[in-house]
Amino acid sequence: MTPKSATGIPALLKTAFVNALIALVLFSLMVGIRTEAGSDGQLTYWTRFGEVAALVAAVFGGSIVIELLRQWIGPAGADKLVPPVVQSGMSFVGRYLAPVLLVFTVMVPVIFYDQRYILDLGILVLTYVMLGWGLNVVVGLAGLLDLGYVAFYAVGAYSYALLATNFGWSFWVCLPLAGILAAFWGVLLGFPVLRLRGDYLAIVTLAFGEIIRLVIINWQDLTGGPNGVSGIPRPSFFGIPLDNSDSGLAAKLGIEYSSSHRIVFLFYLILALALLTNWVTIRLRRLPIGRAWEALREDEVACRALGINTTTTKLTAFATGAMFGGFAGAFFATRQGFISPESFTFQESALVLAIVVLGGMGSQLGVALAALAMIGGFELFRSLETYRMLVFGMAMVLIMIWRPRGLIGHRAPTVYLTKAQAISSDLVKEGHG
């Protein structure tokens, strides 16, 4: 943390000492004094010097370890191109990892048929995989930083919830409608913000996400406000309900009813939706519109010079991403059976964005793995509820410092001359909005 890289033991200790001193000042009041409002509204406080001492000691030890590691590893090399050995290894793994993962995912409900917890977790992971792939269209391909993606998720969820509870429409009718409505909102947001670049776009999308959430909270007649919408119908197998009745799927097939049927069905449903997202994205990348997105990410001015209509290109990216968000939202609503504005906070947007960035923007496989790592990690920390977001935030900062290009920091280019060569994503520019 000190300016000069320390060499030798005295310098090392000095660095650690300074860092510990800084930590002491930082933590002295915030951690050392714990305030709490008493029952009579009076603030009381008590001291926690032990915790401060522990934290300061941790900083002292931690900075010694980090400094030693830094000297041991040496200065960070600027390896722009992935070395050939690693590259061939990666492409080998990359070629077989995706099919293996896919087969495994398809097999999950068979292997873990009775383990409700694993199936639920799988559904959750797949939901985030789908959201990640949807946002990837906007951020990874078109290079538009969208901090309000959860708004489209919310639009999809509320579309299905309200249509189903008010008019009794079936899930399969509402699913496309939710996608269309979300895409419509994407276009609506896209229109005004197209002229903005980079950071401004990020903040406007963030504001948009907050506006949607605040409207949902306050428009109580329609959305039920903070209480949310409950009693959302479960999905049916194309009209055949998955329940214990005589007209249920189990009865029709002549097998014994089990509550796992619905979970397995939901699992395959979200898997199908996620694969649809992936398939459409891969197809679109080969179409002129997908190439226009990637070109837009690389250089907007050059795009304009080449006669690409940047307005429609950005709008389609926004609308496509939003549509998948809407699908995922409708699925979320039918899975939960209850939705409230609390599910659509900025944290969700940041989580999905973190998945996309961690996965190496633009890499489909990377996003899937990142979703698995993130949601799995969240599950591991479930017992430490309050520390979860703290760890998440720290991880985000550390990943940005350590690997700003994400864990899978390379990907095959969409267009190539003679052979597909994996390039480090350091060479892939981010868009300027």
């Binding site: 004094i33 305030t35 409002a37 401004y200």
Partner: protein, 305 residues
């Protein structure tokens, strides 16, 4: 008319607080070119430190209010400034030459860290303090009994803001540090070649921004009488809106934008609906960016190929 005047006063006070936070955003954006997403949380930390210092001072039996206020102000400014420095050091400096999204994402991560750090350290419940500065003046009483109040705390917020702005303007326009800051804003490489310590200047920018945010946190604590761990998020977005409205990178613009947002929010609550006041503020952000992407006092950004 009386109601209008009262709302005008309230709006100006709120706007001063937003303006103080907005200066931190606009300075950092002007020099480093990134949105310091964690700045709203630095404001929150400032509020907490002020609260804790208050508690400690009161429990020592000190009763002289001006002395207490001065000590609280200095302590919260100093410690919050150190927070600002550390945040820049850990989360932003290693990423200075990375791609553009990296510092932004790191800042979002830092914002989560700060929010949850204070939740873990101080608990999730709202922390109230008893009204500390009481009293005020009745400016005018109309025939139907409506009274325009100007409370002492409102006077204090506005006066403190003006004094700080004066010091700050002097700092930027007259001192060596201010000259370095302006040089870095224009061209960091050139400034470095001419002997300006760019790293130090950027650090100082974060320190000053955090100190001003701490003052805003203290004012918020005194004005509303409470702090909680989540207050930084919304206040941060609104202050950023203010910075954009005034033209990001422009210091007088940030203050102007802060006042504008404060007035819009207050009048919207007074005449339309309290529930949608945040929606109004965020909508203003979108509308401004559509029609005036450079804000009120900003310079247009020319992109070179």
């Amino acid at each position: 008319m009386d109601y209008f005047t009262q709302q005008l006063i309230n709006g100006l006070v709120l706007g001063s607080i937003y303006g103080l936070i907005a200066i931190g955003y606009t300075m950092v954006y002007g020099i480093v070119g990134m949105i310091n997403f964690a700045h709203g949380d630095v404001f929150m930390i400032g509020g907490f430190i002020a609260l804790i210092t208050f508690l400690l001072l009161i429990s020592t039996g000190l009763t002289a209010i001006p002395v207490i206020l001065l000590i609280v102000l200095l302590v919260s400014m100093a410690i919050t400034a150190l927070y600002g420095w550390t945040i820049e050091r850990i989360a932003y400096r290693p990423l200075r030459h990375s791609f553009r999204l990296a510092p932004m994402l790191s800042a979002i991560g830092m914002s989560f860290v700060l929010t949850n750090y204070s939740q873990v350290a101080q608990g999730a419940r709202v922390k109230p303090i008893p009204p500390f500065i009481t009293g005020g003046y009745t400016l005018h009483e109309s025939a139907d009994g409506f009274v325009i109040q100007l409370s002492n705390i409102q006077i204090m917020v506005v006066v403190t803001t003006i004094v700080l702005l004066a010091i700050f303007t002097w700092l930027v326009s007259r001192t060596r540090l201010g000259r370095d800051m302006r040089a870095c804003e224009q061209d960091q490489t050139m400034a470095a070649l001419l002997g300006v310590n760019v790293d130090r200047t950027i650090s100082m920018t974060f320190v000053i921004g955090a100190a001003l945010a701490a003052v805003a946190g203290l004012m918020y604590l005194l004005y509303y009488g409470l702090v909680d761990f989540f207050m930084g998020f919304v206040a941060g977005i609104k202050a950023f809106t203010a910075a954009v409205l005034g033209g990001i990178g422009s210091l007088p613009g940030a203050m102007l934008g802060g006042l504008a947002i404060g007035l819009i929010e207050t009048f919207w609550s007074a005449y339309f609906s309290v529930e949608y006041k945040d929606v109004a503020a965020f909508s203003i952000l979108i509308v401004v960016l559509i029609f005036m992407p450079t804000g009120l006092l900003g310079r247009p950004e020319v992109e070179k190929v």
